[in-house]
Symmetry: C2
Subunit: 525 residues, 2 copies
């Protein structure tokens, strides 16, 4: 309840949403629907089937499957039904997939590939840009160890980003393998249960490479780091030699920027430079693989990871995605204790201004990796899986940053009601526009001319249709182009001159209305 005294509000509830929830309307929904429809189409081209599970599950069936152990308090919204069983709203798409697969394994093709798009709910403290309900979009392949599924996930992410209109060279899908990092840590003496905590600190530190840079990560691998606000984060306490062994893995990305420069050849010239990019990328991967290889020789797990990286790269190359679209980058970690093999991340490389006005790379818009034992909780049977999430709101923000039009849209043509006794004929004009496929509406309020024009403005109407008694007698209508009109009126100072010029206004026979409106729509794209 509100803290305000309920003066003049006898028993009236406040019209507001709980914190962390929001309404989405108009152009933003349209942009999101378009985006999701495009993604769905690409997923289906890759053979993924749509799946829409129930939003509500038994709490025990959801279990805990959150990829991000940084937030152990990550809560779910739960309630009991009449039978006292506890139910919860899904907090991600993976836990319901596990339940669905365990329940229907007999009926499903193997491997089973599905995509899911829909809201998820988190009972957490909301913050700026952090909501308690948000859209999630996942694609997973369940029931196979085949590393080809991981290679494909990366190609799919690249294709999906391009299908949305982000040009080649402005994004990159980066791949690494958790087993490689495990192997290096094993070799420097971080293995066994007693090292679990330090391994977590190391992974968390590497995950921050982008943000903190090399020096910041070095501090976190050593004794710890004090940030600008004075807060101290405890380090992993590695020796200088251990540190060096691990860090050398990530010196490779200095390479990356150089390669990226090559890759940023404008699209038109892309064909000409493509061979160079490919040569460069493959030489770079050889360097990375050679570097890792010398470091993990003594770790079976590390060698296994290296072999998987090689296989993925080989498939990426065969399919032609080695032109900078997909790259091997050992600094990719993706969360903490969830993934078990290949991990991948899709990043947008173009620059935008952040909230502080600084120019920064747009950054991650999704990613994922391989996780084992999706359903062991239910069945005791090991079922490996791999998949990824698309950050729906991040990606929508990126599309908006690239092209503001994506979220701006033109409203319907508004037919004004000049004479309330003639509603029938305005209705007919409106229906004529609609039947021609032109979004249109007759003004449905009860106010006069001026508020009607204001309404049309507010709706973003490209034009209004006017038929007074004069026009009606002659079988004509008047069309006012509101967009052109606004421009013209900015250039005409004098009211009298305006009346004489009557810019952006035409009078035509009723029969020509559709054709004239189409001209105006075409003019404003």
């Amino acid at each position: 309840m509100s803290d305000k005294p309920a003066v003049n509000k006898p028993n009236r509830p406040d019209a507001r949403l709980p914190k962390g929830f929001r309404d989405v309307s108009g152009a933003e929904i349209r942009a999101q629907s378009r985006m999701l429809a495009t993604l769905a189409k690409v997923f289906e081209t890759y053979g993924y089937e749509p799946l829409e599970t129930s939003a509500i599950e038994f709490t025990d069936a959801l279990g805990k499957f959150l990829p991000d152990a940084d937030r152990p308090n990550a809560g779910v919204f739960s309630f009991q039904d009449e039978d006292e069983a506890w139910m919860s709203l899904r907090y991600d798409m993976t836990a319901p997939l596990a339940r669905f697969y365990a329940e229907n394994a007999q009926k499903l093709p193997k491997p089973y590939r599905r995509y899911a798009m829909g809201p998820v709910w988190r009972n957490e403290k909301p913050g700026p840009g952090r909501f308690r309900q948000f859209m999630q979009c996942d694609a997973d392949t369940v029931g196979t160890d085949n590393i080809a599924a991981d290679a494909e996930a990366c190609m799919l992410m690249a294709d999906a980003i391009e299908a949305l209109g982000i040009p080649r060279g402005q994004y990159v899908v980066k791949i690494s393998n958790r087993k490689v990092l495990d192997g290096v840590m094993e070799v420097v003496g971080l293995s066994g249960a007693e090292s679990e905590d330090r391994k977590l600190i190391v992974m968390r530190a590497i995950d921050k490479l982008d943000r903190l840079g090399f020096e910041g990560v070095r501090l976190l691998l050593g004794n710890g780091r004090r940030d600008e606000s004075g807060d101290f984060t405890k380090g992993a306490g590695l020796s200088n030699e251990q540190m060096a062994q691990i860090l050398v893995l990530f010196e490779v990305p200095s390479f990356a920027d150089e390669a990226l420069a090559v890759q940023r050849v404008p699209n038109k010239a892309h064909g000409a430079e493509l061979a160079d990019v490919r040569v460069y990328e493959n030489r770079r991967v050889d360097g990375i693989i050679g570097g890792i290889s010398s470091r993990v020789l003594k770790s079976a797990r590390g060698l296994d990871g290296l072999s998987e990286l090689r296989q993925i790269w080989s498939q990426v190359k065969a399919a032609g995605y080695d032109d900078g679209r997909i790259r091997i980058d050992p600094s990719v970690v993706r969360g903490l204790d969830y993934y078990t093999g290949p991990v991948f991340e899709a990043e947008l490389t173009f620059e935008v201004k952040n909230d502080d006005g600084q120019t920064v790379r747009f950054g991650s818009v999704g990613g994922g990796g391989r996780y084992d034992d999706l359903v062991a909780r239910f069945t005791g049977e090991r079922v490996p899986a791999t998949g990824f999430s698309i950050g729906v709101s991040r990606l929508l923000a990126a599309l908006t940053a690239l092209d503001k039009q994506a979220i701006k849209a033109t409203g319907p043509v508004v037919v004004l009601v000049m004479d309330k006794d003639r509603v029938d004929s305005y209705q007919k004009l409106t229906q004529t526009l609609r039947q021609a496929g032109i979004p249109a509406e007759m003004y449905l309020g009860t106010s006069g001319m001026k508020p009607q024009m204001k309404y049309a403005d507010r709706r973003g109407a490209p034009c209004v249709i006017i038929q007074g008694s004069n026009e009606r007698e002659k079988g004509e209508i008047q069309i006012k182009d509101l967009i052109e009109g606004a421009k013209a009126s900015a250039g005409i100072a004098d009211n009298k001159a305006w009346k004489e010029a009557r810019p952006a206004q035409v009078t035509v026979p009723e029969a020509d209305m559709v054709a004239e409106v189409r001209k105006i729509l075409a003019r404003h794209g």
Copy 2:
């Protein structure tokens, strides 16, 4: 928790959903998405804006707005957050619209028109075909008394149904007005607070006219009715004269069937017969309006309703929807104490077999009407509104009944993995198909030829791509048309004959793969 003993299942949760919830997958989602996208397009042609409110609201803000007072126990799923405030999952789209409008009235154009599509939740006892989560699809106009908004809602419903592929003549949008029924009841002496209960019984009875017929309704208006199972429903206890006065209103529908017969002229001949249908419909409406008119002379409310009916019909006629698409039908009641003026209902008139094998009219797929005081609860201000709901699952069932294909779909082309060392080249074949826009996948499991063919069958693959070492050496691939193959194999008894004929199988150069696959896809539509 399950009642079964937990033998061999140490701490393992059951993989199942709570009763009344379900998963939707594959073809059904695709069909639903297509349907909703079509509806959205029609709504936008009419100038409605999309709105997606939060699924979770403060319980006090949702209030009680359920249209169906038949189910007073209709419950909502509720829970408390950390601040102990009660929140609930929305149970319809109208209560959140009220909250949204009250919260944002200053910013919204007036009138405000929005459509909403999404899941709603009811904490009720589930039954066959009755789920606790289901899709709702609403369109409403808020903030105007203008009866043109109601006329438009009816035309919109007609256009939406046709846009989905249901032909003219197979549906009808019926309109009535609650004020007319109120007026008739007033005239026969049912008015004032003391008659509320009996008025409810009368409305409930009329709402069942379709199911119980004239005689059944007569019993419910009188002393009561005993159904086949022996259950007795108490009647309104009207006198014979009161009954006759009310029932005469609904004798008109006998007309309706005759008109429907005229209207059922096949679409092709529709132009030729259109004038007749229009003449008939308008004569019918004159009859109905005349009949009502003589009965409600002494009721201001009844006369008001009659005038609204007339205005709506006049607009329907002006826009050309008086050809049987929209009809006036006094038997439409739509729920109980929610609506205050025009009420409308969209009905599919074609016949289907019900679960008992009987042939029945498909029936209602949506409807709505005018309701006042949408937001008075919040603001104290009267804000009239009108709108309707589409029964998403009912309509989807109708589309499926009309054309089974709507819910059947072809799977992706499957590229078989004949030689595990050659995954790279299979990956490349797969990507070539995808880049041509053909849904395709490489088999991602680890099994041999036979399970791979079984997988392709299970996925509904139109064909598979095969490349063994023979083909590879020659730069060729083999394509097996699975649909044609299944037909052919049904006709070939002899295994040897089969091997010689090799029906539905071609070997072509790799470069021709896309063209050949396109031929097969074209063959199967």
